[in-house]
Amino acid sequence: MGGIRTAGDLVARMQITRGMRLPQAKKHVADRLGVSVMDLSDPVVMLDARKEHGLGAALESGEITGIDEPIGLEAKFHIAELLGVPINSVERFRRLTAPRG
């Protein structure tokens, strides 16, 4: 679908985590983003949507994703919140950075 250039990683996440079939997974992601299903594979629409929601994107020497925008694990916190699914690495980060003692 285009991975992080579009919404491919988000749709894949719904298939992986929830076992959703493609139409259901696309609809879930589109509804959460407030875009149409057709928009999900459009890099022009999706770059704006990803930036608005802090979902990370391609890097390209800072031209696409600036230093103040989330990538990697930072972005996955927003993705988990947006899609309403637990993300293992996010849960792990929370657990390991929680105050101890």
Binding site: M1, G8, I16, M20, R21, L22, I71, G72, R92
Partner: protein, 344 residues
């Protein structure tokens, strides 16, 4: 001058066929699938669509805008450039993979078990950097448990000697060892942050190999309710190396993709990948027609996402280390259009 339409054979070599020859190959591929897998033939609409796809002289073929599917990958990267994390980054940043998969170059759960600490460390670092779903994959690879590589008697040596009970007992013993190893690695990698675990090339050593995969999935699912679990098959039907093994009351030997998918879903898999073999002596059109006919009942009745295996020697893609894009794109488009796949 040869005015036929340029197309490919199953070994990747270029050939030229007339439209009538392409149609004949497609109909023969469908018929071969019906005879072998005892499935319904493709409808006339599907056959006409295949004729359109393979009747084109274009370099590339693609689905309509909006019909794109998720592309998952087993084992991302060549491990020849930079680090394994760089491999994942290339796939995410430049190939725009929808999910990425880290792998150990031995690609079997048994050897991975011995280096799990190192695999965990790399995965932990990868999870900081990768945004897309990032999993870990390897093969159940039951043969690894037999002598001279493992502790169990080799059923490939026992069977020709007529030692059927001994060969069966050896396979049953290997299943339990493989399940332990797969569950051990899955648990370790889940601790390191994976989004999914992939049991790839399941069934490569036959019904016992597939049983090991299903039993391991059941264990992993019980322990990790939200973890993605992917099974990719080794070939179109399960070889009966044992012959009597069952999962949940279903005999595994001889199962085709629809029944494989049902058992995988029952065990707890979230993505299932059927693998349909390629005949290198037939055209890609023949192979794609056969592939789609065999896979269609699986896709029609699926309750979980289906990612058809599409690569070197499976899913209609030529058996060549560098499958030509014209053939790969036609095979992929045809599969998405006709099977309504969830992914590839």
């Amino acid at each position: 001058m040869d005015t036929g339409i340029p197309t490919r054979m199953g070994d990747g070599s270029l050939t030229r066929l007339t439209p009538a020859e392409i149609e004949a190959d497609i109909r023969e591929g469908v018929a071969a699938a019906v005879k072998r897998a005892k499935v319904e033939p493709l409808g006339e609409d599907a056959i006409r669509h295949l004729m359109d796809i393979f009747g084109s002289r274009s370099r590339f073929s693609a689905v309509d805008i909006g019909d794109e599917v998720v592309l998952s990958y087993d084992g991302c990267g060549s491990q020849d450039l930079g680090t394994r994390i760089n491999d994942l980054q290339y796939y995410e940043q430049y190939l725009c993979a929808d999910s990425v998969e880290m792998y150990h170059h031995d690609y079997s759960y048994k050897p991975v078990k011995t280096v799990i600490d190192f695999e965990q460390t790399v995965m932990r670092q990868a999870q900081f950097l990768i945004t897309a779903p990032c999993g870990y994959g390897a093969m159940p690879d039951l043969g690894r448990y037999t002598v001279p590589d493992g502790p169990i008697a080799n059923w490939s040596q026992l069977l020709p000697l007529g030692k059927i009970p001994e060969a069966r007992a050896a396979q049953e013993e290997a299943v339990e060892m493989a399940v332990e190893d797969i569950a051990f690695v899955a648990e370790g990698m889940a601790e390191a942050g994976i989004d999914f675990i992939d049991l790839d090339t399941a069934g490569a050593a036959g019904d016992a190999d597939f049983l090991a995969a299903l039993k391991a999935v059941e264990r992993i699912r019980a322990r990790f309710p939200d973890l993605g679990i992917q099974i990719g098959m080794a070939s179109e039907f399960v070889l009966g190396m044992h012959g009597e093994l069952e999962y949940d009351g279903v005999r595994l030997a001889g199962l085709w993709p629809r029944e494989q998918m049902k058992l995988a879903a029952r065990a707890g898999v979230t993505i299932f990948g059927p693998a349909i073999n390629v005949n290198t002596g037939k055209s890609v059109a023949w192979n794609v027609a056969r592939t789609l006919t065999i896979a269609k009942p699986c896709c029609d009745e699926a309750t979980i996402p289906i990612h058809l295996n599409g690569g070197m020697g499976v899913g209609g893609v030529p058996m060549h280390i560098l499958p030509p894009g014209d053939a790969t794109s036609r095979a992929s488009r045809a599969a998405v259009d006709i099977l309504h796949l969830d992914g590839l």
